[in-house]
Each structure stands twice: as structure tokens, then as C-alpha cells.
Symmetry: C2
Subunit: 436 residues, 2 copies
Amino acid sequence: MQGNWSRIFGELKELIGIPSVSAKNQSISECANFLKNLLESYGFSVSFLESPTGKPAVYAEKKGEQGSILLYNHYDVQPPEPLEEWKTDPFELVERDGMLFGRGVSDNKGEIIARLAAVDCVEKVLGQLPVTVKWLIEGEEEVGSPGIPDIVSRNKGLFKGVLGCMWEGGDIDRSGPNLYLGVKGMLYIELTLRTAKADAHSMYAPIIENAAEKMLKIIRMIKDERGRVKVPGFYESVAKPTAAEKRLMKSLRKSAREYADSLGVERLAVEGSQVAEKLVYEPTCNIAGLYSGYTGPGSKTIVPSTATVKIDFRLVPNQDPLKLLKTIKKILPKDVDVKVYTVSYPARISPENPLVKAAVDAAVQVYGKRPSVLPNMAGTGPLYHFVKAGIPTAMLSALAHPGSKLHAPNENIYREHFIKSILHHALVFTKVGGRA
Amino acid sequence: MQGNWSRIFGELKELIGIPSVSAKNQSISECANFLKNLLESYGFSVSFLESPTGKPAVYAEKKGEQGSILLYNHYDVQPPEPLEEWKTDPFELVERDGMLFGRGVSDNKGEIIARLAAVDCVEKVLGQLPVTVKWLIEGEEEVGSPGIPDIVSRNKGLFKGVLGCMWEGGDIDRSGPNLYLGVKGMLYIELTLRTAKADAHSMYAPIIENAAEKMLKIIRMIKDERGRVKVPGFYESVAKPTAAEKRLMKSLRKSAREYADSLGVERLAVEGSQVAEKLVYEPTCNIAGLYSGYTGPGSKTIVPSTATVKIDFRLVPNQDPLKLLKTIKKILPKDVDVKVYTVSYPARISPENPLVKAAVDAAVQVYGKRPSVLPNMAGTGPLYHFVKAGIPTAMLSALAHPGSKLHAPNENIYREHFIKSILHHALVFTKVGGRA
């Protein structure tokens, strides 16, 4: 493969060079066309899948000996701003000190090229792909994947019978690669209440309601002082960890100290042994924003007339964000305005899925150690649309590292991780096809 | 007096015409000099009392037959902005539909001219002032009277033995004039806490402390859900209403409906009969501002690392703002930062004071009904410096009305109230001197 490095580097450089910023609707068609041509040059049959938003997803397929797997990636990237913080041009791939820099190199154009190189490598070695590779590369992941539900449901035929879907990567740190079998869901709401037409002079505090005070009571209707969510039924539907999942949980190697340092806190709110447990299994109700009354510098003597709180709930299987929303609306006073920003379902697949096993075995060979495999990330992602459609979907590869600066200036990956990712994918294709 | 109207109107016009905005340090000396000349032209002996801030207070004195009373006013005004909302020039006195418009006409240059006209009127009728009038007119009330403590303590000799001090006015509404025998005190603090060096991605909510949540608990250390202040000793020193005060309380005529309408609420937080009771006697702990995390439009998934609350306490006799501050600092966790914006003492004088009795009797004669007299306002003011120095001080006259727009564009008073204020002061001087 070393002999191919200049070709692989050149392809990655071309892909990074296209500033496909979905938030600005910039170079989207250009990037989709570039990928179509590139994939076709490797023998893929390629088409564009319509999205209701007008940004096409690239669909590529290459026949293999038996069975099929699905790959998911996205060809759009985050805006590069603030530009002055970049040490080199964000849209020019640069290699320095064993690292590759450029917008999207980690999230996730690097992985697209690594997967393509893996397909090529396996074909060259075995003469033919052992498994059919189906590949969906959407163009609006960085703006919330609004087209995905429609794209998945309209194209069920294409994805039918796949062994599973490898989502864009997990991550890798000093202890080795981390794979995730799912994501938490989310309900993000904003509650606003008004107690009067306008703020009042605070000398009237003894006789009128204070909106901030009222909001504190509203918050306590949702969550008690110890952090326990009080919405009826919230914990009832939570799936119990399976025996296999419990075994998985032992694979997390990141220490409480590492978490605390990276989060800038002296110590975590929970004991070391509980950290992974809570990150994976605990549904949350987090105050993300809160404001009422005068929030400028200095003092102003008013009784606030409005108050707002932004709350994000992270949900675990089998919690339902829409059911939760309905219950919240039922328990809150009618005069509290509820605005909904995000509704996203949790997803988790079985560690017993053959694709998962192949990815883990391949990782052991490539990285020389077992990857950590968690039932789900602490974060949220749209892969649940695939899981709901019956396609076992997980983050089964690793490229980003803790310093990758995804979405930030100087986004980067290690060249070494990139090479290992190619090998890892090549081995997965081989194993899934029953050839290793 | 009608014959003198053009002279009185002219003097008020000249005084309003000086844009003595203390916040901008504008026309302060000019206004002090104008008043000195004007008061001297009426036979007052006038001097400037030094303030540590450099803005002199005008001190004027005119000998009378027996005893002495002190008048308090200020010659500075609030900035006129926003200028575009004024219907006429803020610094030009205009009479329209029985009302007088101009910055300071209500707060409180109108009262200065009314009091001067009253002195002149009494002298002309009786041949001599029945009581010595001492008059302090400071120049920085609109920026918090920072010089007053020093001015009062340095000039105790001047004020010694006065029967009492008439502060700038109470107010007048459809039911008649309202006098106040004191003010509430205030402690205004801002509490800030930090739980981490930076906000974290909200997927980490299960393992780190949330600053907003922590602040809710801090607030509950100060005040419970029902609004009861939990700071030890808070209610212990509160003075019990005297029998005379209880009788006074029956004089409030403003209805709960009027309060609710003017505050823009459907109904008050307390029952009708409790409104006056609470406004006068209840010490408060009011959340004036609260913010944490993301407060912009839309959603952002973070665990906030800082939270801030602004709280104003309104205090009643004999609560001590500095003692309260000390206790609060003692009960709060050490890592909560406490910033102090205002420390102001409550004050209340006896309704049995002869000056109070004279003011009430004079009001009955001038307005044809008993004024309402409350033990103190619901608001705060610096007259407690006088009370502490042994000078019984109260708001014993009325000029502002509910639509006076003090501090706002189109500040105004009724010409009728202005004339009655002259008569009322004239009668007070006469009664205090034992001549009526």
C-alpha cells in the first residue's frame, strides 16, 4: 500500500479541496459530482438519491462474492471559520509531523478515501470483493441530516438484506480504538413563561409573581434537586442492559481522570467506576440555558416578567422523545410555552451482529489489542433512522482522535491512524465475505 | 397668588432650562449658581456645602420666628434620552392642557420653585416666616447621592435641633395625596459560580456538575419555594408595627385592581387586603436577573460552566443590610462569588412627629381630604442618612402623579397640583411656626 500513498494522498487532497459547506450551500453539487466520478473510476456504479431538501446523496455499489454491507458517510463539512485560527488553508490538505490537516479530514472525508483505498486494496489482493459494498454518502449531515428519513424510507429496496451498516467512525485514543453500537436519542425543548405584560419595579416584589421564581418551580416539576427526572414514566421504558452489553462495558479504558481533565473540572460528579455506566446508560435532563430578568452588567431592580429555560434530554433505548414531549406538555401549566428544537430517537444494536464481530476481530489484528466497544455513545446521531428501518447500524471504525478538532480550526488526523483505518476496513470486508 | 403666576412660571422655566444632568456632569455648577442667586433674591443666606465628589450642595437658610425645619431637594435631573420621544424640548418648560412639561418638573425642580413660592407667600401674608427654613439642595441624587453621608455628617451643626426634614415629595393620585414616613432599605447582590473551566458538550451531562442546577440549589439556600427567606436571623430584627402605624395603614386608598392594572398583571400574587400590608412591611428577596449557559436563539447542547443570579433584598426597620450580607457570605459555599451593588438602610419615623402632624393637617385643608400616610414607601431612598443623624425625615408633600413619567420622556405635573403644593407648603410653615 505504501506504493499507493501518493495516489491516495492526491485523492484526499482533491476531496478536501472542495469547500462543500452545507450550512452555506457551497460546492455541494461539485462535491457530489467529484465523488461520482471518483467512485466510478474504481468500478462502482453510482447514482444520486433525491433528498427532499435538494441536496443529493451519492449512492455507490460494487458487487462482491456473497452478501452485502452498507457504508454511511457524508461529503459535507462544517464552515471553516474562524479562518484566522487556521495555521494552513482549511481547504488544502497538508501533511506535517505525521499528521494530516484540513477541513473534513477527520469528519469525515478522510474516512471516505480510506474506505475507497480499502476496497481497492482488497480487490487487488483477492481479485474480487468478497462482499458487495453499498455506500451512501449524504450531503447534509452537518446541518442535521434533514433528508435522511426520506432517503432511507424511499430506498429500502437498495438496502434490503444488508448484514449491517458501518456508520462514520468511532474514535481512537492512546488506549486504542473505540467502537459504538448506537447513540442516545434527544429531545431538546425550550420553555418560556410570562407573568406580566412587562417587568415591574422591584419595590412591587411583595405583591406580584416573579417569572424567575416561577420558572424554578417549573423546573422542579420536571426534575428534582438530586437530578431525578420527575416526568411520569420517564424511567419505565428504559431498556435493561443485556448480559452481552454488561460484558462490553468492561472494555472502556478511558479513566475518570482523563475525562475530568478534558472537561476542565477538578473532579467528576460521579465516582470512577460509574463514569462509563452513566455515560452509556443514564438518560439525562440537562439545563443547557436559563435566563430571566436583567442579565447585563451591574444592577437593575426589577421583578422579571418572563423566564426561559432550554433543556436537552438524552434518551436511551427504548425511550421515545415524542411520548416524552407529550407527557411534559401534560404536566406543565397551560401558560408555559413549549418550543421543540430536536426530536431524535435512541438506537442500539446487538454486539452479536456478525458485522460487529468482524469489525472487532479486524481491530484486534490491526491495532494489536481489543477495541473498546460500548453499547452506545453518550452523544446523539441520526443512525437510528437506519436501525428503525431494520438495518443494524453502528460506529465500527476509528479515525478521529481526542485532538482531532472536528468542527474547529486545524482539524486533523494522524497519518498512522489513516493507514490503520484502510487496513481495518480491508480486513472487515474480507471477514464479512468469509475470506479471513 | 394668581397674580404671581407669571413670575413663578418664569422662575420654573429658567430652572428647567438648565440641563443639569448629573450622570453627564452637565451644567451642575451653572445650576448651583442659578439657585444661589435665586434664593438670595428671596432673602436666603446661601452657601455651597462641599461634597467629596466635587458636586456642591446648595445650602440656604432664612430665619423665622421660632424653631426650624429642614427641606431636602436636588437640583440635578435624569438624562432626557430618548430625545425623539419628547413631544417638546425636554429643557423648555411648556404648559399644555393644564399640565406642565419638562425634564425635572416632577423630579424635582417643580417642588423647589413651589417651596420657594410658599416661603414668599407666607412672608408676604404674615410679614415674617413663622419658622426658620433650612434648605439642602444636592446635585447628585440621580446618580445615587454618593456625597450625602459625608455632607450630613460634616454639617450636623447646621441641622441640629430641626423639627424634622421634608424630603422631596410623596405623590398624588385620583384619591388624593400620599405621604410616606420612610423607605425600605436595600441589599443588591450578584452571585456567580463556576463549575468547570468551560462549557461542556451536553453528552457529558451524566458525569459533570451543571452550573445552572447548582445555582438553583444556591438560590434555595437563600429562599424557599414559598418565598420565605432562609438566611438565619432575617426576620428576627424586623420591627413590629406600632398601634399608630396600624391606624395609618387604613389610609391607603389605592385598590388591588389599580395596582394590578398598572403592573400589567391579571391579578396580584396576594389578596386585596394584604396588598398595602405587604408593600409596607414585607422585606423581600427578589430575583432581578438570572442566567446560565446558552441564552441565544435556537438550541445549543451544552452543560453550562457558570451561572449568575442578581438578587435585591428590600429591608424594613430594623434590618441591617451589612449584617445580612455577612450572614449570606457565611451560609454560601466558599466558591460562590458575591458582588455587592447596593447597601442602603431602611428608615421610618413616627407619625406622632409634629412636622408629620402639621403636614397631614395642612393636606386636609388644601386637598379637602385626609392624605394617605404610610409608615414607609415600598421603594428605597437615601433619607435614612438623615434619620440616622437624628433628623426625623419623611416624604410629606405631593406633586408627582401616577402619569408623571419621572426619568422618562414627557415628564410632567398638573398645574393644579403645583398650585396646591405651594399652598400646602405655606400652610405647613405656618402650622409648624404655631401661627395656624
